[in-house]
């Protein structure tokens, strides 16, 4: 029996008074990769930010348990210490703070104990190598002047160093050319262990050619419409979101409106 990692029940979330998630149910076990797909504006990033505890995303109802613990009252740093990780769609820059300082402090914070310099260095170098990144990269300021691809790699680099139990990857494929996409995906695959649960949030199917999910969920208007296996992603690739939206009583026009939102 697989060990349950994350259990979401009836989650509703509002941003600045506007309700975005309308009751999401999802269960993720260790060792599983789940893809959450949906058109723009369907609530994918809201789900990611709410799970990590962003103060702007207000949980109005529902329950989120991580390793059995209700985490909704916990600050983001405590959630990270419990083993949650979010790879941001748009990582923010922290001028004047080098990646190496930031990573070391984050590693210490997550482990809640000092990390020997040598151990940190070895881990950093190994992860940089895995992601085909130059050692000099660690001397740059956090996300400052990074290209789109560098930002996404830097997120996966952090995932590798912090070694979480649950990794939520929010549109980690967006803005990447095919080579960068492959490198990032290979990195994620190499970091995947039987203890890790992964949530892949993506708009397109192409990432799923490289990272194979066992489960695919369609999120639309703040609800999971349908869940299935990897074949569902292929169907979406071929037919788009419209047929499935129509099946649940929505109209293709709605999907188009969602695209613009």
């Amino acid at each position: 029996m697989a060990e349950e990692l994350l259990r979401i029940r009836g989650l509703t979330v509002a941003v600045e008074g506007k309700q975005i998630l309308n009751g999401v149910d999802l269960t993720i076990n260790r060792g599983e990769v789940h893809a959450i797909m949906g058109p723009n504006g369907s609530g994918k990033s809201t789900l990611a930010n709410a799970l990590m505890g962003h103060p702007r995303y207000a949980v109005t109802a529902g329950e989120v348990r991580f390793k059995g613990e209700n985490i909704l009252g916990l600050a983001p740093d405590v959630r990270a210490q419990r083993g949650m990780f979010l790879a941001f769609q748009y990582p923010t820059s922290i001028p004047g703070v080098t990646m190496v300082n930031f990573l070391r402090q984050a590693m210490k914070a997550v482990r809640q104990e000092d990390v020997p310099v040598r151990e940190f260095r070895e881990k950093l170098l190994a992860t940089l190598k895995l992601l085909k990144m130059d050692e000099q990269f660690a001397r740059r300021y956090v996300n400052e002047g990074f290209s789109g691809g560098e930002k996404k790699r830097a997120e996966v680099l952090q995932m590798g160093i912090l070694d979480p139990d649950l990794a939520i990857l929010d549109e980690t494929d967006s803005g990447l050319d095919i080579d960068a996409l492959r490198t990032v995906a290979e990195g994620v695959n190499a970091l995947t262990t039987p203890k890790l649960g992964v949530v892949l949030i993506t708009h397109y199917q192409r990432l799923l050619n490289y990272i194979k999910p066992q489960f695919v969920h369609i999120l639309y208007q703040g609800r999971i419409l349908e869940s299935g296996g990897p074949e569902m992603a292929l169907m979406l690739e071929a037919e788009g979101y419209d047929p499935i939206i129509a099946k649940y009583g929505g109209t293709p026009e709605l999907a188009a409106a969602g695209e613009k939102a």
Partner: protein, 476 residues
Amino acid sequence: MVTKITPEIAEKDGYKFGFNDNARATYKYRTEKGLSEAIVREISQVKNEPQWMTDFRVKSYHHFLEKPMPTGFWGGSIQNYALDFNDIYYYARASDRPEQEWSDVPEYIKDTFEKLGIPEAERQSLIAGVGAQYDSEVVYHSIREDLEKLGVIFVDTDTAVRDYPEIVRKYFGTIVPPADNKFAALNSAVWSGGSFVYVPAGVKVDIPLQAYFRINKENMGQFERTLIVAEEGSYVHYVEGCTAPTYSTDSLHSAVVEIVVQKGARVRYTTIQNWSTNVYNLVTKRAVAYEDAVMEWVDGNLGSRLTMKYPSVYLMGPRAHGEVLSLAMASDGQHQDAGAKMVHVAPDTTSTIISKSVSRGTGRTSYRGALRVEQGALHSKATVRCDALLLDEKSRSDTYPLMEINEDQVNIGHEASVSKVGEDQLFYLQSRGITEVEATKMIVNGFVEPIVKELPMEYAVELNRLIELQMEGAVG
């Protein structure tokens, strides 16, 4: 409005230099409270000064009386404070002369400076020479022997007036004339202590000279006078640090610093000012740079109630370069009114001003800067960059840039930004396990990094620590 800063508040704010040693302090000599021509003459007499200096003081005293309090552009803040010139002791000395052996310094003063980490730095050979001033007088001065042999002079200014009258008379009061402003006039009338540095042509002083200024007495005024002369092709880095005990009444620090950078020479002057929050810090700092000379001010202002300080460089010779890196941090009840002034007189001169300020709580920072390009300063180039960081809703920052360009063929750049510690930045760091307090410190330390990296190592470490102390209790 005058805010009284009590010791309790200061301690809560993490000011670790607030102790005093009054129980043991004995003053060999002290003038009465307040100021008069008689007191000015008395100071000169006690110091056994030559007639020209007595005359200089008395003349300056009359300038002080005639000059109004600064108003308008350069005096934008002082009106809001009830600074009482008659509630200040203008001169007090605890020892008869500067000692050259640390062991000869009175025990209680030694304890004070030991607590401040001096002369630990000297023992570790991190500095080439050290001066320590306690209230009005310099109590300790020393310089590495090899530098002395090369002709480098590093003494307190009183000693310089006595022992090197030719050089002192040539420059003293020429860069900052007594009539320049009310506080320069005040300093010129009652000055005491400060450093005199002379670097002969071609001599490069490889590690910094350091001075340390400590106000100990309540209601004390400290008026040090520093003069640095760097001859052709020489180099020197002078570093000063300042602290004071925390009292419920005010003290006044009003220094004058004059610097002459001759052809091809380079001077760097670094200040870490961390006065307690009952000190008015009103300082005039000015340098002249001749042909191919480089003058750099690195100015860190953390403490004091009100600081008004605008280090300036007059670029007098072709290709001279001036630079000001200014860092200001204002917490509750503090106002840091700091900036820079650059005057391009000669062609092909260049200047850079980088100002970074952080405000939190009711703290306020102002950047006040002037950039003047005189006619004939062809092809000169100037860059000004001011960045302000606000830590909360209450804190405040203003920018007052003044530009006067009297020449066409010049290249001027000015950029300014004000940012708040953003929710997204905090969330990003917190999502990596870092607490909100640590995350805020990280963002602030990152913000000031471009200035901090210019400091000598031990000062950089100290400054980061001071910032962290100020940040404790800032959030959460």
